[in-house]
Amino acid sequence: MKVERDVSALPRHGFGTHSLTWWGTLGFMALEGSGFVLAAGAYLYLMTLAQKWPLNAPQPDVWPGTVVAIMLLASLPLNMLMSRWAKQEDLVKVRWGLVGMSLFGIAPLIVRCFEFSAVNVRWDDNGYGSVVWFLLGLHTTHIFADVAETLVLTALMFTRHGQNGRRFGDVHDNAFYWYFVVLTWLPIYALLYWVPRAA
């Protein structure tokens, strides 16, 4: 047997580009991102066909969406710190950081409930309403999924399973995904609230 490499000294878990789940998360972001792009494309497509836009509906009320955008952006510094703490494997900071991120996730979800009525159109009113709700629903699903994951992780980190390199990797990937949730909202926000005003 000809041994050419020995890996016994290599680490047993890793972060970022070393980690499989990081790449997996990136893969899911790519496919979900492509879903967002196509949904946004459908919005613009229907808009170009319509005589006026919004179609038979008042302009959407910008405030709830803006508040969601501000809340999401406000969560970024803590998210950034979370990534760092996870890499440092600092259990206490990660625990409380996760509690904070859970709150930062739940709060926009509450405002989002008001946002659905603030768009001033129902999904079954017309094609405009359908595509607005579709985009909003798609993004809400993403916040919801990430918040659910954050809550479970928070619970997990407070158990005996917490002090473990692999868990910190999970926390790191969770924070990575949250960037995606926040950043996808910005173009959708612009599309839903400012494009019809500019058109």
Partner: protein
Amino acid sequence: MSAPLLDTDLAPAEVSARLEAVWSEPKTLWGWFATVDHKKIGRRYVVTALIFLLLGGLAALVMRAQLGTPDNHLVGPDVYNQLFTMHGSTMMFLFAVPVMETLGVYLVPLMIGTRTVAFPRLNAFSYWVYLFGGAMLWIAFFVNSGPDAGWFSYVPLAGPQYGIGKRSDIWAQMITYTELSGLAVAVNTIVTVFKMRCPGMSIDRIPLFVWAQLVTAFMIVFAMPAVMVSSTMLICDRLVGTHFFNWAEGGDVLLWQHLFWFFGHPEVYFIFLPATGIVSAIIVPFARRKMFGYSVLVLALFATGFLAFGLWVHHMFVTGLPRLGESFFTASSMAVAVPSGMQIFCWIATLWDGRLRFATPLLFVFGFIFNFVAGGLTGVMVASVPIDTQVHDTYFVVAHFHYVLVGGAVFPLLGGIYYWFPKFYGRMLDERMGKWNFWLAMVGFNLAFFPMHILGLMGMPRRIYTYPAEMGWGGMNLASTIGAFLFAASFALLAVNIVRALRRAPGAPANPWDAGSLEWAPASPPPPHNFTFTPVVASREPLWDTPELPVTTGLHADRRETVITSLVEAEPQMCESSPPPSIWPFVAALVISVTLLGSIFTPWALVWGLVPVGITLIGWFWPKGAKEEES
């Protein structure tokens, strides 16, 4: 934590025995459902896809029997429409794409010298979701609720007003299942190929089959969401009254076609690209020659993958789009012929100087070139807008895409089955029957599909359940029907061959074809852990160039562990443990399937389903204290 046990602490034979124990699941019913072994999942996946091939093929035979004579009354329009919808949907969504993707699930880890895929549980989950989705579609068909609006489900015919009953809902939800599974496999493949190649397998040494799988996986990631989006819109239109496709309320009928074909055209390449990978994999050992133009072939894969996203409109040439756009899409559709041509040239150049061994797999490759080139050239014809206005939606197109998909993908697949069967099952298929199988398939296929070109030009549209005798289409339809039954007989022969082989004792050697790629290094079939020691490679055909593979040591022998390497050079970066068997992927797939099925009848099912889905996902990810989860 007990003291870690490394493979360097033990004798090689002992390592092998330990790893086999660690990487197996209990031989119980629980073990059967809980397995995360990529080979078991891959094998199930392929076998399931072949069963769907059988069902889709039977549907086609009934259709051919109906069309064999004019004014036939074997089946009425309702059944016929369900049959061709089932045939198309099954062949595209349940057979061709899954079989090609999951041949990769089985082979990619072996070919790149690793022990499993990146996310083994997600892999198991994909399989179960796919199985439940396919089963739902066919059960629906047998209770008279088979979709009947075509595999493309154009609105308004599939929409809320004209798609009567639950038929199109079932179609749309079947899409959700299969795309969920297809996307998960794609992500799995990408990460596996990126990060789990054995040391030394830098990007210029990746087998062409793996390249094909990788490019396909990328295409899936960017194209499949389109059909997810559109089928979700369709089901919303049908169930909760949205207006995406309602032209009277600001929706648009063609929005469906744009979204569907943005996925639907690349989908053809999900099927074709892996098939080219099979062709490349077969040509090298049977020509006993390294591939000429490796980098050209890789480039061609990327070019095809890229161009495939720019030609969806050629399915819509007669919908009245602006002429300028049509010209652009003519040019782009033609351009995709360039990389295909380059591939063909390189293969022939490799065969030219090869010392050929005329075994069944190679025969199927010859059949592939013979048929696929014909299909590719008629593809160039339909890419031309003016010609397409005559042949679009006629039997000419039916002939064209069967030459591309059957000639271009099923022939390589059959060759691949003969080639890899010994690896999958440890037994050789019979060569004499294989040659019969090949010639019967060639004759049957060409007799079935060549006349369709002429029928289309003579004015026979697609998807008609009957035609009057006076149209003069009877003779050629009868020939085509006879051909279809001959073609079916070739599959029956394959089935006999497989059953006979399985009844023999296993005994295929590790490398019966004297091939050079890594999947032939372990025994046939491979042990649960694939490789006792992760190999180190220094060329594209390592088994030819280094008879005794150098290896990597330093992995644990008491837990599931693999080497993670860098993206380009494949230098070891870390060791990652791989999750043990779990029943949760199966449970999660079951719960999600029931939820999706329920949502066909009431949207509230999605809300109620959240609770059990949440519970199963927590069950899936919550650590249970296995070594793999804690290290």
